[in-house]
């Protein structure tokens, strides 16, 4: 038994198993999230959502996926064929790669990089490039408009995102994701154990959550794909699995954003009142469940927000970022630095 485990989880075959697990997880995540999103959206609008395929429509996304795979990928005349095909892959792969540093539990983490936060941020930023390439290569004015908006928006929102994460990094003194989790152990009764329970941590978390929604291009910040103005924005010309990969990329980005928020601000796989010690299989399972519960709770709130608020206008979007989020996150960073320094004295 242990021979088999060793064979399956050590390098030559282990890499394949790890990749397979990650891909399966990401695909399942997207399928489930698409279903959950449509169901929630339906109930918020007082209709049942997917309903026909399978009990309560749970097979709807499977059927949709099959349909997408069966469709022809059309490449418009005048499009840059290579870039056109590259963009969906570029939007889909980086978030999956970034998942390798996410600590699901004490030992369920592919690599605990010393620069974990930087690694995640640099890979998440590739999404902008994918959108720009998609819009540019489509040779379609709406796609290009969507791409331009995406770049303007993501570049602006990256600043408060980085600063809010930097606040957490200051607090922990490390870029390592496992260090964040370790710093948030203990009981909340003995003092703020999770970063979000401290006032500056709460502000940083809110800023991160808002900018994270903008980075994943979700409503109310879905200017790059505003249906009513730009048909579908940057993915107007994509059909079949090209479109499907953009969708997978979006939902994987959501998952990544929520899991980073969980790790940095919400105590990772720890409960607020007790620390789960030991390293048994059961403990690990509990930790993974706690982590996923927090992550999907955040995603649930993101979906809820999406179906509540109307899309912002572009000037409102930019004003909100430059006049509110950036000053607030900068002040917050300064306050954190001062408080931490005073605490040391």
């Amino acid at each position: 038994m242990s021979d088999l485990v060793n064979l399956l989880f050590t390098p030559p075959l282990g890499i394949l198993v790890a990749v397979l697990l990650v891909v399966v997880f990401v695909f399942t995540n997207s399928a489930v999230l698409v279903y959950v999103e449509r169901k929630l959206c339906g109930h918020i609008q007082r209709r049942p959502g997917p309903y026909e395929v399978g009990p309560f429509g749970i097979l709807q996304t499977a059927i949709d996926g099959l349909k997408l795979m069966g469709k022809q990928i059309l490449i418009p005349n005048g499009a840059d064929r290579k870039l056109f095909m590259l963009a969906p892959i570029l939007s889909f792969v980086p978030p999956i790669v970034a998942m390798i540093v996410v600590p699901f539990s004490d030992s369920v983490q592919v690599r605990d990089l010393d620069i974990g936060v930087l690694f995640v941020l640099s890979l998440a930023a590739v999404n902008v490039l994918a959108i720009l390439i998609a819009g540019w290569a489509s040779s379609n004015k709406y796609a290009l408009f969507g791409a331009i908006r995406a770049v303007a928006q993501n570049v602006a929102y990256e600043i408060p995102l980085l600063i809010s994460l930097l606040t957490a990094v200051l607090w922990t003194g490390s870029f390592k994701l496992s260090a964040f989790v370790d710093a948030q152990t203990g009981s909340v009764l003995e003092g703020a154990n999770w970063f979000v329970f401290t006032p500056w941590g709460f502000v940083a978390f809110m800023v991160y959550f808002i900018t994270g929604m903008a980075e994943t291009n979700r409503a109310p910040f879905d200017m790059p794909e505003a249906e009513s103005e730009l048909t579908a924005g940057f993915h107007t010309e994509y059909s079949g699995m090209g479109f499907g990969l953009f969708f997978l990329g979006e939902y994987t980005n959501m998952l990544l954003m929520a899991s980073i928020a969980t790790t940095l601000f919400l105590g990772g796989y720890h409960l607020p009142f007790v620390t789960l010690g030991g390293s048994g299989f059961f403990i690990e399972l509990m930790q993974v469940c706690i982590f996923l519960l927090k992550t999907y709770g955040l995603i649930f709130i993101m979906i809820w927000i999406r179906w509540t608020f109307p899309r912002v206008r572009f000037d409102q979007l930019m004003n909100f970022c430059w006049k509110f989020l950036i000053p607030v996150s900068m002040i917050n960073l300064a306050v954190t630095a001062i408080v931490l320094k005073l605490g040391e004295l």
């Binding site: 918020i44 007082r46 209709r47 809820w304 179906w307 608020f309």
Partner: protein, 177 residues
């Protein structure tokens, strides 16, 4: 500065109010009707295609074959075939053909009818693969309805062949009213 903070607080509060509203509706009952499985009751004012009025006492129609509706129809979509069988005093309705593809639902036929034998049906589930699917035979539909209501189907079926004189006598008091 104060204005700025006030705007922030009011804005944040309005966002929370909005989310509370969607949460409330998210947990309330859905209001949609699952159409092929459920149907809502249609308003009685709805104008479907015309149908013969069913006399609930004997399961028969009230038509006296006066041809007024056929003449009143501006689109010419009504085609009545009536015969006067040997020995009968009055004409007997054999078939009432309606070409619904041409009908404009103007209600001239129902207004023209001296015995109020015509009405608009509530039929809105109409679908067909060719235009011939919308040519209706109203006498047959009436008999089917009478049968579904359990109004002595045989008795209704008997008067339809024009050779039976007794059917004509039973019908004439109704239509003469």
């Amino acid at each position: 500065m104060f204005e700025y903070l006030r705007e922030v607080v009011i804005g944040a509060k309005s966002l929370l109010v909005g989310m509370a509203i969607t949460a409330k509706y998210g947990f309330s009952k859905t209001v949609t009707v699952h159409y092929p499985y459920e149907e809502i009751e249609i308003t009685p004012n709805f104008r479907g295609h015309i149908d013969l009025v069913l006399n609930p006492k004997n399961g028969k129609h009230k038509c006296i074959s006066c041809m007024m509706c056929q003449r009143a129809c501006p689109s010419g979509c009504i085609n009545i075939h009536a015969e006067k069988p040997e020995g009968a005093k009055k004409k007997q309705l054999v078939s009432y053909h309606l070409d619904f593809t041409k009908c404009s639902l103007c209600a001239n036929c129902t207004e023209a009818c001296p015995t109020s034998a015509l009405e608009f049906s509530n039929e809105y589930n109409l679908v067909g693969t060719s235009r011939h699917d919308f040519h209706f035979e109203l006498v047959g539909r009436l008999n089917a309805r009478a049968e579904a209501l359990g109004l002595v189907a045989e008795e209704v079926a008997v008067p339809e062949p024009p050779a039976k004189p007794d059917a004509g006598e039973t019908q004439s008091p109704d239509s003469g009213e």
